[in-house]
Symmetry: C2
Subunit: 174 residues, 2 copies
């Protein structure tokens, strides 16, 4: 019995390692973003939803926040800080009125995601690698290409506003 | 070699059946919605994202459209009609200004998902069961309880506006 428990523990531990590796280090072959050296994580569009948002003003987009398994678990539990290997993805699209809904309601009513806009952004937790920026690495990609260094210099200073929430703006939407 | 291929084919086929069953017929134990008899599908909050939206006016919410595997595949490919067993879930939350962002920008800028609002809605494709409503069953649940019959009477007439898109408003957001 003890042996079965040990083997099971080993299998579960190994599964954990494999999951972690898949989450934390699998990146696409593309160019790395400046400063933090982050590449686009493999399969991020398959990740589960953390929350949604709308930015007004110049940004004028609709957004979705997706997370790898570690991010989903941590944001559901609301425990801070986020564990090593957490990756949070911020997707955004043009804020477009839905014509069919305007016709049905007789006024602007529904706004939906149009083409991608304002890039795709990632936050990756690695306390060793990103010690000077709250243990987070940041990256933005526009049409699959990393944004420039100036863009990446703005990430941490803005996220510092929510240092009390481990630098993460979003909260899990149940 | 032929035997291995046969066994593999059987395994893959079985996996397909299991996935389909999990997608199409696993429902929670709760009460069924009126008219269409739909129960809340198991694990829908784990499904992948199709798109996001914002409703103005009285609805005033932020929404996410999630789909089971069949829905994700079909909406990515943009093929109509959606296959049997497709389930689309519409979640919605209160449209809340993000205080930290207002402070940083000096004006209202970011709106994020607050508490759940306007229920959770589902569309389930079953051409045999729902022949009179475009092959779709509709359901809305508020705090896990089915909405009343009057609410369910409005679903199909509104979705009929987008009959040309197989009665589905949303499009996949890449």
């Amino acid at each position: 019995m003890r042996r079965i428990v040990l083997v099971l523990t080993a299998v579960v531990a190994l599964a954990g390692v494999v999951t972690y590796a898949a989450d934390a280090s699998e990146q696409t072959d593309g160019e790395a973003a400046p400063i933090f050296g982050v590449k686009i994580p493999t399969g991020y569009r398959e990740w589960r939803l953390i929350s949604v948002a709308h930015e007004e003003g110049n940004l004028n987009d609709l957004r979705a926040i997706l997370g790898n398994d570690l991010a989903i678990k941590a944001s559901r539990e609301g425990k801070l800080p986020y564990p090593e290997g957490t990756i949070i993805a911020r997707l955004a699209w043009s804020y477009d009125p839905l014509k069919e809904s305007e016709k049905a309601f007789g006024r602007l009513q529904s706004f939906v995601a149009g083409p991608p806009k304002n890039g795709v952004q990632f936050m990756i937790k690695n306390s060793r690698k990103y010690a000077s920026t709250g243990s987070w690495g940041f990256a933005q990609f526009d049409d699959g290409k990393p944004a420039n260094e100036a863009v990446h210099n703005t990430c941490f200073s803005c996220h510092a506003t929510v240092k009390a929430r481990d630098f993460v703006f979003n909260r899990y939407a149940p």
